[in-house]
């Protein structure tokens, strides 16, 4: 099998992992490139959801039901990654809230959210 055919076959069985890669890339790009501090926080959130998608995909099994255990139900998807991601979502919101509070404070002190402008103002 050629390398290209192998890649195509991987795409049909591992598509979510490729979506994870793209989301991590887009999040990182926004985090690094956007001059606006608020958009950097959005980029961080996209990066986070990429990782969530990785975990929830690992928990999935074909034909699985949600892990609500009843007699004769099943097979079930794994509950543990779901729990970890629930915790991570809430922690992510707390992180965003603190970051946004810092941004509001930075704006009230310096009057701008532009990264380069802030640097100039800081060193003046």
């Amino acid at each position: 099998m050629t390398a290209l055919a192998l890649q195509l076959e991987l795409l049909t069985t591992h598509y979510n992992y490729y979506a994870v890669m793209l989301l991590l890339g887009i999040g990182l790009y926004t985090l690094v490139e956007s001059p606006n501090l608020l958009k950097k926080v959005i980029g961080m959130n996209i990066f986070q959801t990429g990782i969530f998608l990785f975990f929830v995909t690992l928990a999935y099994r074909t034909g699985g039901n949600p892990p609500i255990v009843t007699d004769g139900g099943g097979p079930y998807v794994s509950p543990l990654p779901h729990v970890l991601i629930l915790t991570a979502i809430v922690v992510g919101v707390s992180l965003t809230a603190v970051a946004l509070a810092l941004i509001v404070r930075i704006y009230s002190e310096y009057g701008t959210l532009d990264e380069e402008r802030l640097e100039e103002l800081y060193y003046d």
Binding site: I42, V56, V69, T70, S78, V91, V93
Partner: protein
């Protein structure tokens, strides 16, 4: 499992929304695109049989997070922009592409999606929770059982994080109450 039509279109939708969020110059537009992104991803959780995560993401990710961004935006500035999209900086794209390729190199060693013998799904821990959760905690939803009983200290730590975030936000804003 092979890619179903609904999941394929959802994945395309979230990736388009994410690219839109990254490139829209106007901050309010980016926040709205991010809300659409969160909603799309919460439906993906439902498709992946994770209703608890889907509900939390819809309420917290698409709901509370958007409100937080809008409050922050109302307290700062949203400049009128001359152009709809930001220009793409290729140097950063090259850096991100290198990162993505390194991550992508690990994909072939991961188990196929939905493989019942994969370590996470077929592993001992998952099987223990699924067969003992109801007997030991009297909760039918295994996610709740693990969250509140088996990993209760983890959830306590989460509550501590939320509390500290509230305290930090108040002290950073130099206020005594949220109004």
């Amino acid at each position: 499992m092979s890619l179903s039509l609904i999941e394929g279109s959802l994945l395309v939708f979230v990736i388009v929304c994410a690219i839109g969020t990254a490139l829209l110059k106007n901050t309010l537009a980016a926040v709205i695109a991010f809300a659409a992104y969160s909603l799309g991803i919460s439906i993906i959780w439902l498709v992946l049989q994770a209703p608890d995560v889907g509900l939390t993401e819809a309420a917290v990710g698409a709901g509370i997070m958007t409100i937080l961004f809008l409050i922050a935006l109302a307290n700062t500035v949203n400049r009128d922009t001359d152009r709809l999209f930001e220009s793409i900086r290729w140097r950063t794209v090259a850096f991100v592409a290198a990162f993505v390729l390194v991550i992508g190199a690990t994909v072939p060693s991961l188990p196929a999606i939905g493989d019942p013998t994969a370590p996470v799904v077929g592993g001992e821990v998952t099987q223990y929770y699924l067969s003992n959760a109801y007997k030991e905690t009297q909760v039918k939803n295994a996610v709740t059982a693990v969250l509140a009983a088996y990993r209760g200290f983890d959830t306590l730590g989460e509550a501590v994080v939320v509390f500290s975030a509230g305290v930090v936000a108040l002290s950073v804003l130099r206020r005594e109450v949220f109004t």
